[in-house]
Symmetry: C2
Subunit: 336 residues, 2 copies
């Protein structure tokens, strides 16, 4: 197989683009796709500082790499979820990445913010673990951006993540999720940072290839809490459709953004105010994050395992919970 | 396992309803679901004569059976597609069913209407076979209803058919298909019969069980032209989701009808006029069916196989065509 651009030996075939590239031309293609997405979707202006939420995985580190290379002013944000070895190793990857590029890395710990790490949060809330974790991450991302003077947060969500989330929302026809699904979540309140997903048109396989070819040392393991419910995953379903008909994932997602999302946005307006406790945005009086922190606090005396200490690492897959919620949350964990 | 109603031995478990029934109580459940659907969706008034499109398969014969039992004034409509043994056997099943119940069966042949059977139509049109066949069936159903004084045509589409069609349209975000997907297609022109799908809330497994328990002799084989492209079918995908989370098929379809379809109907208005040739409705000057008949006529002298004579029966699966179109059309063939 030959590189479509230079005629040299190709290392990667991209069936949905009906093309193949050598290493160098693939890296160029990846950078071009990312920067073109930023330009076309008006995600970021050239001199706007951007906070890149990094998990230590391939997607977010690849994104940070492209933005640094392109000369954007960035800082990384690592949110320490307190999930045993998974968190320790993913944090080490982010720190090594930042050190190697002389880049700034901000580290925020869920345990400090909410009163306990995700393993303990899991035990005291009735929310599915992935839901409580996603809530905490979105909250911390936004607050860290405001605290450190960033107007925009970039996450590493790729095409597979976004298509899987969309499939989940569509199977439930969850109108507010559908209205909110976009690669550029615009600011609707002065206390919100814009959230952008510059990799949303690149597949998981492509971000993995980019990270590999760039020699980025990323964490391959999945979060231990995301296992189990994925026995049948929306990603798997979409992969099978993609195998038969290359490009179907992209056309599902892009078709939605172009033709369907506007129909779900109509009439969808949320009245935001500031949380009486923390001042972040909420639709009620006290925000969901402060309520979660309350739950953790209240549970502390009753909890068998002291909060903040190391709880037992899960060995068995979590029982099946609401499938759709799990899967969309799992894809979020993965990439944010 | 015990029948939820009488405590006797259950023959069928319905996981999404979290219940199980003996044969008699299942038949009652099935009839009740069908008649309740007719009532709630205002499909049919008590004394309105209805033309039931029957293919010889389980769904449409089960539907006709329920309607006859409930005392509706019905006639069956069998459309002879001219597809070799498949058509001969399915026609025989319909004739036997009608004879056994002293019911009226109208038979219309595609070969007489369009100039050739589906196997020959397949060779002269660039449309996928299932698309040309679906077009012919919808046309003939409507014309037969008008010719024989029926204001409404009922088809046997079940929950699996409808959910699979919806999944196909959703993956493509095909706005006009989404706007049109409904269990009651209302009349928007005096030359259109209302089309209703009274089984749309009952699964394929349930219609099969009903037909079996009622001793209905139906054709089990699939149409030979529908094979091949179904290697990965939307039905299969939905079945896997249903296995993990019983009720997800129904909630996908019903959620769409309730919350999403109205958003796709908005602004969707089609200007219908009468075809200059045949007088049936069309959006253009000459309807798609007359154009198809023209193609068949023009191809006749050039065709290697004389039209109307028996063409070779297909042995190999048809090559993969547009997957989504195929699958949605295949489910249509199945059930109409």
């Amino acid at each position: 197989m030959k590189c479509r651009k230079c005629g040299g030996r190709a290392v990667l075939e991209l069936r949905r683009h009906n093309t193949a590239f050598c290493a160098g031309d693939f890296l160029d293609f990846f950078r071009h796709q990312t920067l073109e997405t930023i330009r076309r979707w008006k995600m970021l202006s050239r001199d706007e500082p951007v906070l890149v939420a990094v998990s230590g995985g391939k997607d977010s580190l690849a994104l940070w790499d492209v933005l640094l290379e392109a000369g954007y002013t960035t800082a990384g944000l690592y949110i320490d979820l307190g999930i045993f070895d998974y968190s320790r190793e993913s944090k080490a990857r982010c720190q090594a990445f930042a050190a190697g590029r002389d880049a700034r890395l901000i580290v925020v710990s869920v345990a400090e913010e909410v009163g306990a790490g995700i393993p303990q949060v899991k035990d005291v809330t009735r929310r599915p673990t992935c839901s409580a974790c996603g809530l905490s991450k979105r909250y911390i991302m936004n607050r860290a951006a405001l605290d450190h003077g960033f107007g925009v947060v970039a996450t590493g969500h790729n095409l597979d993540d976004e298509a899987a989330t969309l499939l989940g929302s569509t199977l439930r026809w969850d109108e507010s999720s559908l209205a909110r699904q976009t690669p550029v979540l615009e600011v609707t309140h002065p206390k919100l940072a814009r959230r952008i997903k510059p990799l949303f048109r690149l597949s998981e396989r492509e971000t993995a290839a980019y990270a590999f070819l760039r020699g980025i040392d990323y964490i391959v393991e999945e979060c231990p809490f995301a296992r189990g419910a994925t026995s049948i995953s929306h990603k798997e379903v979409l992969n099978r459709l993609e195998d038969v008909s290359p490009g179907s994932k992209a056309s599902f997602l892009l078709g939605f953004l172009e033709r369907a999302r506007p129909r779900f946005q109509a009439g969808e307006s949320v009245d935001l105010r500031e949380c009486l406790r923390c001042g972040q945005t909420t639709t009620g009086e006290v925000c969901a994050f402060c309520k979660l922190a309350d739950q953790v606090r209240r549970a502390a005396p009753r909890s068998a395992v002291p909060l903040g200490s190391a709880a037992l690492e899960p060995t068995d897959p979590a029982p099946l919970r609401g499938l759709a919620a799990d899967l969309s949350a799992a894809s979020e964990i993965h990439a944010s």
